[in-house]
Symmetry: T
Subunit: 70 residues, 12 copies
């Protein structure tokens, strides 16, 4: 009935294995402090390199969640 309001926060998830895993890690971390996550927007993907190998995938995401019941 009432109009919803959503908030977006910006996190950087990291993973040693894949882009998808880095995004999942960011969502899992966000889920510890916000309820009702609804969507993720991938903003940017970078890698950290050591010894000439990729050691971390770093994915910047915006995470949207419903603000109504906060």
């Amino acid at each position: 009935m009432s109009d919803h309001i959503y908030k977006k926060i910006e996190l950087v998830g990291t993973s040693q294995t894949s882009i998808e895993e880095a995004v999942k890690n960011a969502v899992a971390k966000a889920a510890e402090s916000v309820r009702n996550i609804r969507w993720v927007e991938i903003q940017e993907t970078r890698c950290h390199v050591e010894n000439q190998k990729i050691v971390y995938w770093q994915v910047t995401v915006k995470i949207g969640f419903t603000l109504d019941e906060e």
Copy 2:
């Protein structure tokens, strides 16, 4: 006298009637938790459609407010 610092938060306001109403709803929600809102930047406008009609205007906004006295 002292230099001010502002913070921006990103919300998505929604409305069944207009873009302006969606923005106002976002500001009203923000006003519940932050004081001293100073400006709004409209980022993106989308609509949710059902039964071939627009049912919600969804407007992503950045809301800027003074941080000094928090």
Copy 3:
């Protein structure tokens, strides 16, 4: 169960009265030829001017709809 696929088409709706009306006109036109419209993304807003007055609001939109049953 199955993964959905959506298609986006790009239209320019026009109206003599408002941005919202121009978007609605674009959706109404799209609804004549595609089923299951789900969302609209507003891309760009321009006006056509004659005799120093705005005579048309021209709003470029992307309209997303489900492709599955086509």
Copy 4:
């Protein structure tokens, strides 16, 4: 017959009521000093907020007009 040349100027129109009104105000102001306005491109929309309410819609526009007869 001859090729036209257009110029664009950038204004910020404001209004206490709506985005459309802010754009119209910018066009009306431009019409005081340039003739033959042909189109408007909306660039950016912001709001000025006081006492936790939106008091002004501020819309940055580019206004295009024919330069030939100036």
Copy 5:
């Protein structure tokens, strides 16, 4: 000999497992109605979240194909 013409269409592929799978699903759907697909440009990646978990990867793609023999 003759110059080729290509067309691009914009789809959103989805998958419960990965970004790559979502793109493949979009291409498979496009292949039902257009021939001679030549390339894909990934535009945007989002996720749909339910119960604090990612349930769909949603990847917007532009799909380019040869128009000559249509």
Copy 6:
């Protein structure tokens, strides 16, 4: 009297001689299947190179046409 609706499609025209020729080829191809083309927006220009020489100009364009009588 009534408000017009336009559609945009995205093509890539190619030519061995010039950017302008590539755009014209795209318009000519579009004219085979859509009526009432009104404008073209040039999006991107690339070249295909073989034996260290440019052999094709590839120009991505959006072509706008009136949808009313479709």
Copy 7:
């Protein structure tokens, strides 16, 4: 010796023959009212179409000139 200041103005040049000609027409028009033009930045290229043919190339340019002696 002294630091220079430049101003940029934004024009749209048109031509029935080529992009280059449209830019030259814009520069020629600007040269009627400003002195000391130094550079041009091409911003956007569009075409006006009638009877399914390109009739005008429309090129938006920013024209930079020295302000010192104005």
Copy 8:
């Protein structure tokens, strides 16, 4: 060992003297409420002008910090 998660917040620092000072002021303010700041991304620089003089440099920054131990 474990994958890190970072959060970015967006502030506007101001200074009467320089861009660098405005950024430092934003970081100092952020340091009052978040620990483990790691990097700053400068987004946008504006100035506030009064009596035809620049009175404030206003620099929008994104500030990234480690979320793990919050």
Copy 9:
């Protein structure tokens, strides 16, 4: 009481010493011909190099001023 209208002009200020000085020079120049400057938006920063040293900082700015009383 009445709604304000602002105009933006685009200048390039230069300085042999710093980015801030280049911006100030642009504002000082603008102040010779427009009244009521209100804000500056920094658009782009470049340097001119001679003999392998930076000799000029060149900063493109948009300068906003109140149009009402012109």
Copy 10:
């Protein structure tokens, strides 16, 4: 102690299996000619399609490395 300088080069890595593999291939190639790679920024992802199937993932990356000891 001393300030570091980094250089970025732009490569396109390809892979028949995944986006991550394409990025790794680009890094491996870069590692043949530059030392001290520090990070990767993913710029653009495209696919090459043959027989209506994706045959190559093509990922444009910027690779950053320390220049000091070259």
Copy 11:
């Protein structure tokens, strides 16, 4: 069989006659030092002006070439 790797370099070609000629000049220069050029992406077009006339077309291009056999 093996996955290819490409490198992009960024040049600015110039010409007194046309945009196309400026691009060709950049490709010819690149061909002196790199083999296996495959494509060109046009990034930006500017003109140098003297005595109120365009004297050079300056076109920034990215040139892509195969790295495998280097």
Copy 12:
């Protein structure tokens, strides 16, 4: 007489003191290996933070130089 060709390379300069110093450091480093540097384009500014203080300004620049005599 002949048309010039320029090349751009992308570096990240760093400094503990200012943005300008970081740019100068990048130019000084480039000057060790390329001759005839002509201009710098500032792309992005970031800071590295330790112990809640900015310890490095990191400025990404494109450096343009004449290729003719290489």
